[in-house]
Symmetry: C7
Subunit: 71 residues, 7 copies
């Protein structure tokens, strides 16, 4: 009932997540890592709103761009 945000991220390690950014873009990938600023590491990341969904091995997203993370 009272999972703190970073605890929820910890539990999501290795799981697929959807990350929405302030720019409106949405990344989908597997959560490989994070830190206390909500900087994220996604593997098998693709940008959903892009014209050509790019699949990349690993992407670091700087936390201050993040709106929401949905495991």
């Amino acid at each position: 009932m009272s999972g703190r945000p970073l605890d929820v991220l910890e539990d999501a390690l290795g799981e697929p997540v959807t990350v929405r950014l302030k720019s409106g873009e949405e990344y989908a990938g597997e959560l490989d890592g994070y830190d206390q600023h909500m900087n994220l590491v996604l593997s098998r990341a693709s940008v959903a709103d892009d014209e050509t969904a790019s699949t990349e091995d690993t992407t670091i997203i700087r936390g201050d761009n993040v709106v929401s993370i949905t495991p």
Copy 2:
């Protein structure tokens, strides 16, 4: 009379809340967690202003996007 903001969030744990974001979007869900930055964890979250209200199990919202939280 003098509930501090984080105390009000503590009391709202497990309760339905509406969260307004700077983007104009509104999330509704049950407050599952928070931290001192007002990062939030919502369960059964849906985006009210979206064309298709999406129901998702759990969503983390980064606090710096938040305008207001109404329990």
Copy 3:
């Protein structure tokens, strides 16, 4: 003559206040709490500039949205 900002908020607890946000919106309500970031708790809050003034029991406003607070 030299009331510091947080002292003025302390004195306004339980009193009606008008809060202007960077978005241009204006909240009116009773000040129920605050913290050092100017995060605010308003009770009986309504949004003055909205088309339909909504009355809500309690609203937390994140401080970084605030332009001014008028007790």
Copy 4:
């Protein structure tokens, strides 16, 4: 010759000041208080650029909105 910004604010306590905000608005009033974030307390404050100059008893302005303060 070398008055630091907060020293100049200290000297301006009780004096009329004009405060310009990032929004383009201008507040005029008497400086009643301030803190290290340049959060300000103005008494007899009026908004110069508003269509109807509103006179209010006391207004707290959050410092991160401020462009300049002219005693």
Copy 5:
């Protein structure tokens, strides 16, 4: 050769400076004071880009508006 930014401000005390702001405005005046946030105190300040160049005794500029300072 290696004057740090605050050292250059220290040397400019009492000298005329031009301050460019993120809004595009330009202030000219004599540098009367500063602090570690680059909050500035200008005397005999005028706004160059304004239609009517206003001459004011002393103006405090909040540092987060500053783009550049030219002694």
Copy 6:
């Protein structure tokens, strides 16, 4: 599985990376250095979205402009 963001940057030293900025620009280059703010040093950097791809020896990118880094 749980590489923290700065660990992934450490592993990418000397490797080619693509850096997306909030402005929409994309830099490609070899990662020569970084710090805890995600300030980056790229060598052989070029701006992909520019009309004329400029090749420069070394470029420092201030971290607060970064959206994502893809090794």
Copy 7:
């Protein structure tokens, strides 16, 4: 291979640099100083994108405006 951003700035002291700002402007000059916020001191600075390239003795640029620095 692993030059940290501030080390690269240290090495660039006394050398010509190009500084790109979030506003789109570009400054060229000799790097005379910097600090840990990437506040910069340029001598013989000129604004490349301005209609009339102004040559000024010394300019302080506040670090939070900086996108990139190219020695």
